[in-house]
């Protein structure tokens, strides 16, 4: 073997890496909520739209869910400049992840719409609920209980997906690991520490999501599967 | 000589004390019915007898042999001699009627498939399902499924049959067909422990009736006395309430 793992040198970079993790979180959260917003529009069109708009949304979703996010971002980053649109790495990654997330989150949110049962609405109507009350007391609680677990799951997947940003030179967690690697060549140490930080931040996220889910939406999420 | 001897058994589900100091002897050929409100431990008692619930303390003797619930081969022995029919039938959804009945005798007891097949056909004929051999459980009515479950239990050639509220999930018109199958068995001298809410049926077939409440046995009496002049007030309360509902 002749190789001993030395963590001391790498541990000096821990604060630098943790700041990188913060940027990863930013990207994940921005892309997630961006994706939620676009996804909601797409899901609404898909549920209530006409035939043509429906087809367009289906094409969008099918394309984005059947091609790699990495190549989508490559395309934005390298091909758009041919049309005179120059994106910074950060924006290209954020845009790519948002467009990709929109496709998945559209499907998830649509499944939520479809899960509303007519008899619950009928019950609310017979109790003389106004439309606002129906949304507040019947539709939203129901949708959130159904949606919360798959949305949480997708948020975790997106957190992991942010590591792709490193490939485009964004200095988030993995990007910073690249930087330290080219400086110290302690590759195994660096990437194992990086992996550990990802484990910690996704665990914290799952934990918080589980608590939010349980107290606000009565949705059950297991912290350890 | 009792076939089953239950001595000061205590058992828990998680933290819930479901069986408290249970004492009961059942002789060969006897039909003992367990009655009582839901959650009184009747089903738990049956589940324990096939090792689905492991007692925390106490002793059980089957044909004079002490059963060690921690020993897999002892568990296998009791399950070979005691068969159970569940409230929800618990038929294997992926197998047709005939396969449901035949699988354990052939695959587990390693008996001759031909002989098992013949016995299964006989049993299914007895419970009136000869024309449903190739049907799957989800294609059958509740009553039909329950009768398959009875045939499945009997095809194991058990010495003792446990019936866990086998009619409670059935529509009233289906109850009769299932009870008729049990009457037939009773007349053949099979030892049975029956959990049931059908008081008329209990009165008719049982040799003894056990009243349970909150995990304890409150009273053991013959079927006439337990309904007409029970020894305990709690029994009287339960019996008069349930008879009034009918």
């Amino acid at each position: 073997m002749g190789y001993t793992l030395v963590y001391t040198q790498v541990l000096e970079f821990l604060p630098y890496l943790i700041k990188g993790a913060w940027i990863s979180l930013q990207i994940a959260i921005l892309a997630f909520f961006g994706g939620m917003f676009f996804g909601l529009i797409l899901a609404t069109v898909r549920t209530f739209g006409n035939n043509i708009s429906n087809k367009i949304v289906i094409c969008y979703v099918t394309f984005f869910t059947n091609t790699p996010q990495l190549v989508q971002i490559y395309f934005l980053f390298f091909a758009l400049p041919e049309f005179g649109i120059l994106l910074s790495p950060y924006i290209a990654v954020l845009l790519g992840m948002t467009l990709n997330a929109a496709a998945y989150l559209c499907e998830i949110q649509r499944a939520g719409f479809l899960s509303i049962r007519q008899n619950e609405l009928d019950a609310a109507k017979t109790l003389n609920f106004s439309l606002f009350q129906q949304v507040k007391y019947v539709i939203l609680p129901h949708i959130m209980r159904v949606l919360f677990p798959p949305l949480s799951n997708h948020y975790i997947i997106m957190t992991l997906g942010t590591s792709m940003a490193a490939i485009f030179g964004v200095e988030e967690l993995t990007g910073r690991a690249f930087n330290i690697n080219s400086e110290t060549f302690r590759s195994v140490e660096i990437f194992s520490i990086t992996a550990l930080i990802y484990i910690v931040i996704t665990f914290i996220a799952t934990f918080l999501l589980a608590i939010i889910g349980r107290y606000f939406f009565k949705a059950k999420i297991r912290i350890i599967q | 000589m009792p076939q089953i001897k239950i001595k000061s058994i205590n058992a828990f589900y998680e933290k819930l004390h479901v069986l408290k100091n249970i004492e009961l002897n059942v002789s060969k050929g006897e039909i003992v019915s367990l009655i009582g409100p839901s959650g009184s431990g009747k089903s738990s008692l049956l589940k324990m007898l096939v090792g689905l619930l492991i007692p925390k303390s106490g002793k059980i003797y089957l044909n004079e042999n002490l059963v060690n619930f921690k020993n897999q081969s002892d568990l296998r022995t009791i399950r070979e001699q005691i068969a159970i029919v569940f409230q929800q039938y618990n038929l294997f959804q992926n197998m047709n009627v005939l396969k449901n009945v035949c699988i354990a005798p052939t695959k587990i007891q390693k008996r001759d498939p031909k002989e098992v097949n013949e016995q299964a056909l006989n049993l299914l004929e007895k419970v009136g399902l000869k024309d449903k051999l190739k049907s799957y459980p989800d294609e059958l009515s509740g009553g039909q499924q329950q009768r398959v479950a009875i045939a499945r239990a009997l095809c194991l050639n058990p010495q003792i049959l446990l019936l866990d509220e086998i009619t409670s999930a059935l529509d009233p018109e289906l109850v009769k067909e299932v009870l008729d199958s049990i009457r037939l068995l009773a007349s053949e001298g099979m030892t049975m422990l029956i959990v049931s809410h059908e008081m008329n049926f209990v009165k008719e077939v049982s040799s003894r009736v056990v009243f349970m409440d909150e995990g304890s046995i409150i009273e053991i009496n013959n079927p006439r006395n337990i309904f007409e002049k029970p020894k305990e007030k709690r029994t009287l309360d339960f019996v008069s309430k349930i008879l009034k509902e009918k």
């Binding site: 869910t65 990495l70 989508q72 395309f75 992996a195 990802y198 599967q225 | 689905l52 399950r79 587990i108």
Partner: protein
């Protein structure tokens, strides 16, 4: 745009087409091996995870830790970590092998979870009936649980096959000659990024879309069978 149209005949030369076809084969092979191994080993993990014996407790703990770790580390980071570990232990410097092993390890964690939740979706009554009739744990799985659980397992498993087709794009980062790497090479050779990356987007789509449709078709069919 005109430049693009001019470029197309130069791009789709026989050499380039064969090059891309080979790369597509590598992408497919990485995914297929990963899923096959993931299914078999993941299945074993799921089976052991549900055992009750006290002697297997260390194994169960190991399985939980294993699945939690590899489902919480980005594919890219795992890939690089294995890449450098392999450089240290010097077993092999075959990049395809390293990528395959990484894909297998991650696929095992994910598919193991899918199979486990499939097993858990089967009603307790089925276990009780089998246990009461003296089925062993493995007999119950083989005769009763898996014949029912595969309907629950297959649709999400197809979802993950598709995820893996796409995730193998990251193998380009350690230099495995799969589709994304091929596109980068063509791009570096001076072909327009629109053409290079656009082409492989379509090729990925060709690999993934039939599986996606088939998975959805099966999901619908199995769902309607249940009722």
């Amino acid at each position: 745009m005109e430049r693009l149209i001019e470029e197309i005949p130069n791009f789709f030369t026989i050499w380039n087409v064969i090059f891309l076809a080979k790369a597509m084969g590598v992408t497919f092979l990485l995914t297929a091996i990963g899923c096959l191994v993931g299914f078999s080993v993941g299945g074993l993990l799921a089976i052991f995870r549900k055992t009750k014996s006290i002697y297997l407790l260390p194994l169960r703990i190991f399985i939980v830790i294993y699945t939690e770790i590899f489902r919480r580390v980005p594919f890219l980071v795992s890939l690089l970590l294995f890449f450098y570990v392999f450089q240290i232990i010097k077993i092999s410097d075959d990049l395809f092998l390293i990528a395959t092993i990484t894909v297998c390890i991650i696929a095992t964690a994910y598919i193991g979870e899918i199979i486990r939740s499939g097993i858990e979706s089967i009603n307790q009554t089925q276990w009780d009936a089998a246990t009461a009739m003296n089925f062993t744990y493995y007999q119950t799985l083989r005769e009763v649980i898996f014949p029912q659980a595969w309907k629950v397992i297959l649709p999400p498993a197809f979802g993950f096959f598709i995820m893996f087709i796409k995730d193998t794009a990251l193998a380009s980062q350690i230099g495995v000659m799969e589709l994304t790497f091929a596109a980068k090479i063509l791009n570096n050779k001076g072909f327009s990024p629109l053409l290079s990356f656009g082409t492989i987007l379509i090729l990925y789509f060709i690999l993934s879309f039939p599986l996606d449709r088939f998975g959805k078709y099966m999901e619908r069919k199995l769902a309607s069978n249940k009722n």
